[in-house]
Amino acid sequence: MIVEAAPAFRPHRSALARFVSLYGQEIVIACAIVVLFAVVSAINPRFLGANNLNTIVSGNAYIAVAAIGMSMIIITGHIDVSVGALIGVLATVAGNIAISGAPIWVAWVAPIFVGMAVNFVVGILVAYGRIPSIVVTLGMLSILRGGLVSVTGGAWISGLPPEFLLAQQRILGVPVPVWFMIILTIGAFTWMSTSAFGRSLYAIGGNAEAARAAGIPIERRTVQVFMIHGAFVGLATILFATQLQIIQSTIPPNLELTIITAAVIGGVSILGGTGTVIGSTLAAILFSAIGSALIFINVSAYWLRAVIGALILITVLADMLRRNRETRGAGR
């Protein structure tokens, strides 16, 4: 079964023009990252120091990994506002297994399966209970957040075995989270753009009725994509929970919004049907680079959120204008 890519295919245009039209948002963000690094390192060369680059890319790789799953969810036309709470719960699960004396690999693998199990329930409620995903995940947010605090009592997990701290390890001199981020991004991108399953997600997000008419089992796909998202949240949790010697039993505030924002800035249309996970990973890197840049050019970090907010609005505006021009250029 072949499902056509969401951006219109126009054979008369040059390969370059088509590339720009398909990946416009990704190109814009890549350029923004380059400009940011050029400007900030001109002001303060220490911005390009190995330590700082490590913090920017490796320390926030978990956001990029979670944003991959979120992108798939949004491309299918859904949303997940419970992802921050789920990361908090899965981190506690992993930490407790790690200090219980079980083999370390169990502590690494458990979050993936628990994440898939939780999102299996979410997927069932969305697909077969016909409850909008924003309502299900809003409820799930409360359940996970409240459940986490009432089970742990807010206590921190310490005494983690050193070999559990995967995010601090390096392979060939490159931090493990960076490997995760690169391999998962490229893998998910290839899978989303070439496999029948990946194309069917774009088809559902683009037009669910047409997808159904084309014979795509929408309910089953919805449950599956939520479970895959759960697996990515589990992978993100491993990177997040193994960064430090302790695991705080609290959820990083607004984490779900950061992850959704990374997906959306990366070019995933909130209406579903378009976008790639390369864009969301680039956007996650851009965010952490901006946060670091503010410090290096001596702007109070309290302005970070205002800068990111302005950036969201500007990127979306630029994207809207670009699309308008393209549809007009096509004579519509």
């Binding site: 409360s142 459940g147 109070s300 959120r305 609005l313």
Partner: protein, 314 residues
């Protein structure tokens, strides 16, 4: 009256509220006392004001995630106008309300004029407005307001908390506007089918801009009451209140896709959530357990309502 009408979402919800009140008052004799109920009304006002206007927003098929940030920004600016600029507090309050309304107006403008999806527009302004609050305050709080200001958040009028009068007034006006006026009909029409509403000659953009401005105003009003109630101003005020408000609205039977919903439902949703929070804490359940229950109630209510609704239309 047919069974279908009896099984309306609001009826189910009202029954749930009554059951919750009975069970909770059996659990603790301090629950069903006038003092406690009035005090719960006081605590409900801020999220209530926001949820009532959020009902309009969601009925048009939109959403406003930025209300918590508008609350924080208005609260901080109220403090800054009064303390740092030395303006009279009355004027500072008016300016804070103006800023909140303008913030909502900007949401409406980006949504109508630039065609931003509401989720994205308000996700952006959620970060932007909270960022402004944090940037302006630099983590400093403002305290020491004059005594008369606390009447609004801590005082009473005819034995009832001052802000509860405000909430009841706003709820009644909102119910009349949404239920009986042409503005209300226009709100439903936009949510059911925006294109059709446009072709019917409704001023869709103006209605939307007015609703988002009202949402900003409600958040700013909640900010003034919040500051008066807790006697201080901080930049993290109202964080996450948007999710509480949306939960109340959706629990109240408003469709997240627009076109359906009532103010009565939202008020019932608010009462159910507040009753659960308070009643369970009096019965010795920790507040975190209550949050779990609210999440489960939200999902189950919509699930049951969906099943009945589908059975009825088939």
């Amino acid at each position: 009256m047919t069974w279908g009408k009896l099984l309306r979402h609001e009826t189910i919800l009202a029954i749930l509220v009554v059951i919750a009140l009975i069970v909770l008052s059996a659990q603790s004799d301090r629950f069903f006392t006038l003092d406690n109920l009035l005090n719960q009304g006081r605590l409900m006002t801020e999220v209530g004001l926001i949820a009532i206007v959020m009902t309009f927003v969601i009925v048009t098929g939109g959403i406003d995630l930025s209300v918590g940030s508008i609350l924080g920004m208005s609260a901080i600016l109220l403090g800054v106008f009064w303390q740092n600029f030395g303006l009279p507090l009355e004027l500072a309050i008016l300016l804070a309300l103006g800023v909140g309304t303008f913030a909502g107006f900007l949401n409406g403008l980006t949504i109508t004029r630039f065609k931003f999806p509401p989720l994205i527009a308000t996700l952006g302004t959620l970060a932007l407005y909270r960022g402004i609050a944090e940037g302006v305050s630099q983590a400093r709080s403002v305290r020491g307001y004059p005594e008369w200001f606390y009447v609004l958040g801590q005082g009473q009028l005819l034995g009832v908390p001052t802000q509860l009068w405000l909430l009841v007034t706003v709820a009644i006006i909102a119910a009349i506007v949404l239920g009986t006026t042409t503005w209300g009909r226009a709100t439903y029409a936009i949510g059911s089918n925006e294109t059709a509403a446009r072709f019917s000659g409704l001023r869709v953009d103006w209605v939307k801009i007015a609703i988002y401005s009202a949402s900003g105003f409600a958040a700013a009003l909640a900010a003034v009451i919040f500051v008066s109630r807790v006697s201080t101003t901080r930049s993290d005020m109202g964080t996450g209140i948007e999710l509480d408000a949306i939960t109340a609205v959706v629990l109240g039977g408003t469709s997240i896709f627009g076109g359906r919903g009532t103010i009565v439902g939202t008020v019932l949703g608010l009462i159910l959530i507040q009753a659960l929070k308070n009643g369970l804490s009096l019965a010795g359940v920790k507040s975190d357990g209550t949050i779990v229950l609210i999440g489960a109630v939200l999902i189950l209510t919509i699930l049951v309502s969906n099943l009945i609704h589908r059975g009825g239309t088939r």
